[in-house]
Assembly symmetry: C2
Homo-oligomer: 294 residues x 2
């Protein structure tokens, strides 16, 4: 038996069409173009190539894009000033700040200059806090508007579109970064999963992974999670983007895990293609809120 | 064999002396009294009695206290105006807003009026977000100053003072409230525990509890967690405050669990007495930050 492949690439194509149609309708109705501003200091190759992919997705769905590139040696005051300017600029609806920041620049200082309502990357503490405080889906007061980081949002969207039940399931998230692991854990919790968060200090990681009905990998280590760490029938969501001998692979040993899992995201073609389109949804949503004065 | 009792009452007494000495030194040095303002609408008996306990603790440690009581039918605008006034008042260093708020008053609106630097109860999304984003203890950049809710902070302080090792341990937190369960989970994660968050939808709750090296109960159901849900030797932290036939009891069946656990907080006398003194520490810390212009 072999697992069902959770085809993020195909899903992203569908979503691109959906979002493009929504963006077009929004432009028609409001007479304005949802626009993303990207901020970067220097020319880190991975960041440059990621920015190029974002620009392309913006074009595909009709979202405006501008890149604001400072020299690699930019200081904190310059970056803060740029982010503050963009936060005030009414023609910019979403702002994304690429890492790495130059040495000595404090991320907290940069984040303080970022308007939470334009934080389409979900990195501002107010957005992280509203996600952390969000009531279980469908219960209790909704918190104020907030943004969820695009990568875990994409993983959740895959689970949703494939109809994977989450309520009462045991989800194990390996990795506790602020942009993937922790928000993914909180999103799964919102959907009433029981959630375990693991990391480099976890004792008996294989044993903990084997508890998972939903196993989420977000560690950044090539094929670290082996087939026998996967409970038969489990749903595996792999956020890993690693390269081995020039070939992209996930955090999960796909060839092994595909024989055991019930469903699995491949790498490439799983969670990866979802990220940019989820970012576009956030930009559209930001433009909507701003045009309604929220 | 019987578990070691984690004596929160004795610890709180020690802490009261420590904090009182720190407050006195602060007053001497800065010529100002750390002051807590309490906000409430109406006279909910539990809130009134809690407020009285807080006022008493303030007096014991030399912290200033003022209560701002609105009528039970106060509307959102009134409460927001009061919280905004206190947020601007330089003689107030910490603000605590008691629940329940009157019907129709949105907690999010009230929180928006609260200065995060005076949120000694750790309920503002910025504080929740900074806790959620905090790097593992001793690693990475410290986030900007923030406040942790007093109840889970008290539980962590008990574990710290009793020298309970957390790194690599499996902590299971039952209950996911924004003031106890979720922040406790994030605090344990910061100390490099593997953390599982459980709730009313968790399947096989007894089985999940039995995984715990550290078992944390924060559900609010009298003696729900049975002795045979406790792994032999586990450390049990009980945040429950329930009443059965007029007698206070925790979420854990103490009489059963004490025979199995390695260490356990009793109810009363465990986590309860710690909360107010942790709140005092937050008020002192808020006054420190404000006097330094942070």
């Amino acid at each position: 038996m072999s697992a069902t492949i959770l085809d993020g690439r195909a899903l992203a194509t569908t979503l691109r069409e959906e979002v493009a149609a929504e963006v077009a309708a929004f432009k028609e109705r409001r007479g304005l173009t949802p626009t993303l501003a990207l901020v970067r200091a220097g020319e880190d190759p991975a960041s440059v190539s990621y920015a190029r992919a974002i620009a392309k997705t913006c074009e595909q769905v009709g979202v405006g894009f501008s890149a604001h590139i400072l020299p690699a040696e930019a200081d904190e005051a310059q970056i803060v000033a740029l982010v503050a300017d963009l936060s005030r600029d009414p023609t910019v609806h979403g702002i994304m700040i690429q890492e790495p920041l130059p040495k000595g620049v404090r991320p907290t200082a940069v984040l303080e200059a970022l308007a939470p309502g334009k934080d389409v990357d979900g990195v501002h503490p107010v957005n992280a806090g509203r996600l952390a405080q969000a009531a279980p889906a469908g219960r209790g007061e909704e918190p104020a508007d907030y943004f969820v980081p695009a990568t875990p949002a994409g993983g959740m969207e895959i689970l949703r579109r494939y109809g994977v039940p989450l309520e009462g399931k045991h989800a194990v998230v390996v990795g506790r970064s602020n942009i993937v692991g922790k928000p993914m854990a909180l999103l799964l919790l919102r959907q009433n999963a029981t959630v375990t968060l693991c990391h480099s200090r976890t004792a008996d990681l294989p044993g903990v992974c084997r508890l998972a009905d939903i196993l989420v990998a977000a560690v950044g280590r090539a094929r670290m999670i082996k087939g026998d760490w996967v409970k038969p029938g489990a749903v595996v969501v792999d956020f890993g983007v690693n390269f081995e001998e020039g070939k992209m692979c996930g955090d999960v040993d796909f060839d092994e895990a595909v024989k055991v899992a019930g469903m699995i995201t491949p790498v490439p073609g799983g969670t990866g293609p979802m990220t940019n389109i989820m970012l576009m949804r956030n930009v559209l949503e930001a433009a909507r809120r701003q045009s309604e004065g929220r």
